[in-house]
Symmetry: C2
Subunit: 307 residues, 2 copies
C-alpha cells in the first residue's frame, strides 16, 4: 500500500445527441475532489464533505458500491478511508454518480498493490452506477476514466472504443429543476420508425466521422436527434430556445446532457462558448428559473491525480 491519493474526477456528458446510450465525453469542469488513504481500521470508511445528504453506508453509496465490488477481487483487502468533496450536483445530468464511482476505483487502484486493467476499473465502477440508478451503464464512467470521447459499441460484451477528436469548447447550463433518470427513461417510446432510425444512424455515423476527421462542420450537421430529444426536451423548460439561440450564437450544436436537466453546447473556440453562455443565462433569467453555467473544454485525460 502506498500513501494518500488525491484526485479530480470530472463531470461527463453522456447520450451525446444522436449517440444515445453509446457516446460520452469528459469535461474539465465541474469535477469532484476525492482523497483516498490506507486505514488501519479494516473495511471501508466514507466521508462526505459536501452537503448533498448522501448515505455514507458503503452499500448505499455510489463510490462505496464500486469499491466493494473491487475489493472482492483483492486478496488481503486493506482498510480504506475515502473522503469525497462533491462539486457535481447529483441529478444534474452531468455524471455525478459516475464521477464518484470511477474516481473511487481509480484512486483505490493507486494505493492497492495489484494490477487492474482499465476495463477492470470500468466494470467495478459500473456497480456504483447500479447503486445510483439500478442500471449498470458505462457511458459516463468510461469517459470519466479514459478522458476524451468514448464509444460504447456494446455493453454485453463490453466493447469500448476511444475516438479521436478535435478540441471542443463546451458550454453547460444546469437549470435547477429535478428530472429523474427513471422518468426520463419511462417517457421514451419503446419503438421507433425505421425511417427515423435510419436518419439517426446516418447522423451517428456522421458524428463519429466528424470527430475522427476533426471536421467541425460535419460534427455540427450530425448533431441531430429525432428520436430521444423531441420526447425528453419537454421535461426541460427553455430547451428549444437555448438550442436555437446557441446555434445562432455560433455553437456547432448540442442537446440534453445525460437524461437532463443540464443542456450542453459544443463550440469551436472559447469566445463562441462564452457567447453561448450569455445566451443560456439570458434564457433562464427571462424564464425565472435558477441555473448554473460552466464554460469548459473537452477533458482528454479523464481523472487526474492532484497530489
Amino acid at each position: 500500500m502506498s500513501n494518500t491519493i488525491r484526485i479530480k474526477s470530472p463531470a461527463t456528458i453522456a447520450n451525446l445527441v444522436c449517440g444515445f446510450d453509446i457516446l460520452g465525453l469528459a469535461v474539465e469542469e465541474p469535477f469532484d475532489l476525492m482523497t483516498i488513504e490506507p486505514s488501519e481500521r479494516p473495511g471501508l470508511e466514507i466521508i462526505h464533505l459536501d452537503d448533498y445528504q448522501l448515505s455514507t453506508v458503503p452499500e448505499e453509496n455510489v463510490a462505496g458500491g464500486a469499491l466493494l465490488a473491487m475489493l472482492e477481487d483483492v486478496k488481503d483487502a486493506p482498510g480504506i478511508k475515502l473522503t469525497i468533496d462533491k462539486k457535481i450536483k447529483p441529478g444534474s445530468g452531468l455524471g455525478s454518480s459516475a464521477a464518484s464511482a470511477a474516481g473511487a476505483v481509480f484512486a483505490a487502484s493507486k494505493i492497492i498493490q495489484q494490477q487492474f486493467t482499465q476495463e477492470d476499473l470500468i466494470r467495478y465502477a459500473m456497480f456504483g452506477e447500479k447503486v445510483a440508478s439500478g442500471v449498470k451503464h458505462a457511458d459516463n464512467i468510461t469517459p470519466c476514466l479514459m478522458g476524451g470521447i468514448t464509444l460504447i459499441r456494446s455493453i454485453m460484451p463490453l466493447d469500448i472504443i476511444p475516438l479521436n477528436s478535435p478540441d471542443l469548447h463546451i458550454t453547460i447550463v444546469h437549470p435547477q429543476i429535478e428530472v429523474k433518470t427513471s422518468d426520463a427513461r419511462h417517457i421514451l417510446k419503446k419503438e421507433v420508425q425505421l425511417k427515423q432510425a435510419i436518419r439517426q444512424w446516418g447522423n451517428i455515423a456522421g458524428l463519429v466521422a466528424g470527430f475522427m476527421k476533426g471536421d467541425y462542420a460535419l460534427i455540427g450537421r450530425s448533431l441531430e436527434d429525432g428520436i430521444i430529444e423531441p420526447v425528453r426536451s419537454i421535461l426541460i423548460p427553455g430547451f428549444d430556445q437555448v438550442k436555437s439561440r446557441s446555434k445562432e450564437a455560433g455553437a456547432l450544436g448540442g442537446g440534453i446532457s445525460g437524461s437532463g436537466p443540464s443542456v450542453f453546447m459544443l463550440s469551436k473556440d472559447d469566445a463562441t462558448a462564452r457567447a453561448v453562455e450569455h445566451v443560456m443565462k439570458d434564457v433562464y433569467i427571462k424564464i425565472g428559473i435558477d441555473f448554473k453555467t460552466y464554460v469548459t473544454k473537452l477533458n482528454r485525460q479523464g481523472i487526474k491525480i492532484i497530489e
Copy 2:
C-alpha cells in the same frame, strides 16, 4: 466536345450490414464497360452490347434517364452516342443500375465543355436510379463515382462523406435467384425496437470508427445487423451457412449486398478472401443453386477511364 471516352464503371455494395441505406463501397470487379462519343445526330442514342434485353429508349433506360437529366442543364446539348457492355447483371444486388447511371454521367462530363461538381454528377445519376426502381437513392451511385467507402449522412439535403479505410479484400457470391428490390423493401417492418436501434447505432459507430482507424478487429465486431438482415436473409437460400462458414474461414464479416441476392464477405487479405470463395462455392453446390463468385478488392478510385 472532345473525343471518345471509354470507362470501367464498377459494381458497388450498398446497405453495408449495419449501415442500411447509408454506407456503400466500390469493388474492382465486376464492372460495366461503357463508351461515349459525340454524335452528329442530335439527341441520345443508346446501344447495349449485352443481352439483358434492357430498353434502349432513353427515358426507359437507366443510363438514359441520368443523361437526360444532365443534358437539361447543358446549353446547346450535343448529340451523344452511348454504348454499354453490361457485365454487372441487373438484379444481382451489386449496383448494376448505379454503374450504368453513374458511368454515363461521368463519361458524358468528359466530353461536354462544361464544369460539373461531383455532387452534380451524383444528382444526375440519381435520376437513373429512379428509372430503375422508382427511388432516387444514392448509396450505390456515390461509391461508384467516388470510389472507396462512402457515408450518406442525409439524402435531403444530400450530405456525402468519404470514409478512410484500410485495404479490404471482398468475396461476393451471386446465387442465380431473383429477389426484387421492391419485395425486399416491403418485407421490412416499419418500426424497430428502440433497444435494437441502439444496438445498431453502436455497431454503425463502431464500423465507421473501425474503417477510419484501420482496426480490422473492430470492423469485424461491428459487422452485425439485428434489424434488416434477419428479415431479408430469409429470401436468400444458404445465407446463414455462407455467413457462419465464411467467418470460420477467417472473414471479418459481411452480409447481404444491396437488397440481395448477392452476399459479400470482407477479409483482411487475398488468401482469406479465396478461402471464403471456396466455402461459398461449397454451400451453393450442395444446395444445387447456380451461382457466380468474385474475389476482388475495395476500389479506391471508382469509375476509371481506360482509353
